[in-house]
């Protein structure tokens, strides 16, 4: 699922807007339409009910920052087009699909790591005027076990795997089409 890398994307987009204001928006709109099948596929793969819930823990992950459906819809998938350069990486995503719900992301990545925490004790931090640290809990293991048992983890990529190559190719074609417009005008 390696994605293609394009060069001078920022310049192309800038030139597009200089050529005709709103041309960049038109391009992104086209890309969004092309990406729709992938978005639908991801949405279909996301569990419809709270995957963290179990019979013994019926209210698991329903509140707080990582609560299922808290703040964002669990199946919210957005198309993103960013030309901003990163200060850390030379290669960054230009067009991407983002599953923004933290609870969905948590369920998706559960079990992808080694299962061994990097440290058993947290760094020291100040709390109510004192400095303290705490033990890293192992509660996540039972959560991962539960999600794996119900096949509620690692669903985003498998869900989009089939439609992804054609979507990637079409998006690249769209960018090339608009780049050609810029070149024609410049020449």
């Amino acid at each position: 699922m390696a994605d293609d890398i394009v060069y001078n994307a920022k310049e192309i987009v800038k030139a597009l807007n200089q050529l005709e204001p709103g041309l960049k928006n038109a391009m992104v709109k086209e890309m969004r339409v092309v990406a729709a099948p992938a978005i639908t596929a991801i949405k279909a793969a996301i569990p419809k009910v709270n995957p963290f819930e179990s019979k013994v823990r019926p209210v698991s992950n329903t509140r707080g920052r990582l609560g299922w459906g808290v703040g964002r819809k669990p199946d919210e998938v957005k198309f993103s087009f960013k030309t901003k350069a990163s200060k850390k990486f030379a290669v960054t995503s230009l067009a991407s699909l983002r599953v923004n719900s933290p609870a969905t992301a948590l369920a998706d990545v559960a079990g992808k790591g080694s299962g061994v925490p990097r440290r058993t004790v947290t760094n020291s931090y100040s709390w109510k005027g004192v400095t303290r640290s705490h033990r890293v809990t192992t509660q996540g293991r039972s959560m991962i076990r539960h999600l794996k048992k119900n096949n509620d983890n690692n669903f985003v990529y498998p869900g989009v795997e089939k439609s992804l190559p054609s979507v990637q190719a079409e998006i690249k074609l769209i960018l090339e089409k608009y780049a050609a417009k810029v070149n024609r005008k410049l020449n």
Binding site: D3, D4, I5, V6, Y7, A9, K10, M31, A35, A38, I42, T83, K84, A85, S86, K87, K88, F89, A90, V91, T92, S93, L94, A95, S96, L97, R98, V99, N100, S101, P102, T104, A105, L106, D108, V109, V156, Y157, V160, L164, V167, Q168, I171, K172, L175
Partner: protein, 427 residues
């Protein structure tokens, strides 16, 4: 936290370059306060700071002169103007060296320090808003101040109908320069100002030093006089230099004579003598290491109860004994092996007269006399000689390759070998 599915990626390292540039400034800044750098770097930095301070002083003086000439500025006003430029530079991240020319322009036009400062702030805001260089914007504003609004109206078309030109411009652009100031530029600028302040500390010292060495009778003059005297053979220093030159020549002549005495051909050739002395050193080292090898091996054999082997090693030539130790076989077996190798290479039977205490290698027949006698009475270090159309070669450790090399060397030096059918065989 979100899951990202990449559809298309881009390559753009401008962000990294920008960050690197910023951290380059940070590195300089850390250097400026002397953290984790060497003495030479600190010295370089001090010199750089002094240069920056010198340039800054020049630019400040230029502006101050204009303030006095055009606006009759007092000393207090001049100081206040300096502080204003510095604070503006820190707030906006624009170099003070860029601000001063614009300030000078406004002072010339307005003849008033306060008004010039207001216009400078305004032009910075306008420059930040339009993205045009400060010089261009300050030109337009100074022109507008004297009634020519054309350039400013080009930059801001909405001012065409304005009745209060600078008031309306202030409404459009006010505060933009500080808002849009690039943090890295501000940081770099702050560091440059720090550097200049550091330079201001160093500069008087450098000025004093330069003044001291360049004054009449100072170090520069003294050193110049010394060189003049050294070049004149009539002065004491000149005579000393001349005698030093003679001493060096004498030492060189002595060395040449010494090496000439070492010429093995008796030709008093220093180069051949030098080569011979090197060969002697090399041979000596070879003999010492061979001797050590034989001694240690002999003791090992005695310890192991191999008395015959120990006696054979002790009675053999040191080179042959060491070669047998290196090969891990007996002395007689080593001789046989060397013979077999020389026969295989086409040099005929090699005979080693081991009982003589030297390792004489003879081609084409038996030797007519023992080594260490005859014309080369010193024996040990002579590479080649001929006796009745035979060549007697003494080689430490009886290495076949060394034998062949010695024979080839002899052939080259003497235009061939005394017996036919040998010259190129086996090489």
């Amino acid at each position: 936290m979100s899951v990202i599915v990449k559809l298309l990626s881009k390559f753009d390292d401008s962000g990294i370059k920008k960050a690197k540039g910023g951290f380059g400034g940070l590195k300089k800044a850390i250097g400026a306060i002397g953290i984790g750098i060497g003495i030479s770097q600190i010295t370089n930095l001090l010199m750089e700071s002094a240069k920056a301070a010198s340039a800054d002083q020049k630019s400040t003086q230029l502006l101050n002169t204009q303030l006095v000439r055009n606006a009759n500025a007092t000393k207090t006003q001049i100081k206040q103007s300096d502080r204003f430029i510095e604070s503006l530079s820190l707030q906006t991240g624009i170099m003070d060296d860029d601000l001063r020319p614009s300030m000078g322009k406004f002072v010339r036009v307005t003849k008033d320090v306060n008004k010039a400062q207001q216009l400078l702030t305004l032009s910075l805001d306008a420059s930040a808003t339009t993205g045009k260089p400060l010089e261009k914007v300050s030109n337009a504003i100074s022109q507008a101040f004297v009634g020519n609004r054309k350039q400013l109206e080009k930059l801001f078309p909405s001012l065409k109908t304005s009745k209060d030109l600078f008031g309306d411009l202030e409404k459009i652009v006010g505060g933009a320069a500080i808002q849009q100031a690039d943090p890295f530029s501000k940081f770099n600028n702050s560091m440059d100002i720090l550097k200049e302040k550091l330079g201001n500390l160093v500069l008087p010292l450098i000025q004093d030093f330069v003044g001291e060495i360049t004054k009449p009778g100072g170090a520069i003059e003294q050193i110049g006089k010394f060189f003049e005297q050294a070049a004149n053979p009539k002065t004491d220093i000149g005579k000393a230099f001349a005698s030093l030159k003679d001493s060096i020549k004498l030492t060189f002549d002595n060395l040449q004579a010494l090496f000439g005495l070492m010429d093995p051909n008796g030709g008093n050739n220093p180069t051949a003598g030098f080569a011979n002395s090197l060969q002697m050193i090399s041979d000596t080292i070879g003999t010492i290491t061979d001797g050590l090898t034989v001694t240690v091996a002999t003791f090992q054999k005695i310890g192991a109860g191999d008395y015959n082997g120990a006696i054979a090693l002790l009675t053999s030539d040191i080179g042959l004994g060491a070669e047998s130790v290196r090969r891990g076989i007996g002395v007689q077996d080593t001789l046989n092996a060397i013979n077999a190798e020389t026969i295989a290479r086409g040099f005929g039977t090699l005979y080693a007269d081991d009982s003589s205490g030297t390792n004489n290698v003879i081609f084409g027949g038996k030797p007519t006399g023992k080594a260490g006698t005859g014309i080369f009475a010193n024996g040990k270090n002579n590479l080649t000689t001929t006796t009745n159309n035979n060549i007697t070669i003494q080689v430490q450790s009886a290495d076949p390759k060394a034998v062949v090399d010695a024979v080839v060397k002899y052939g080259k030096a003497n235009g061939g070998l005394p017996f036919a059918g040998f010259t190129s065989k086996g090489r």
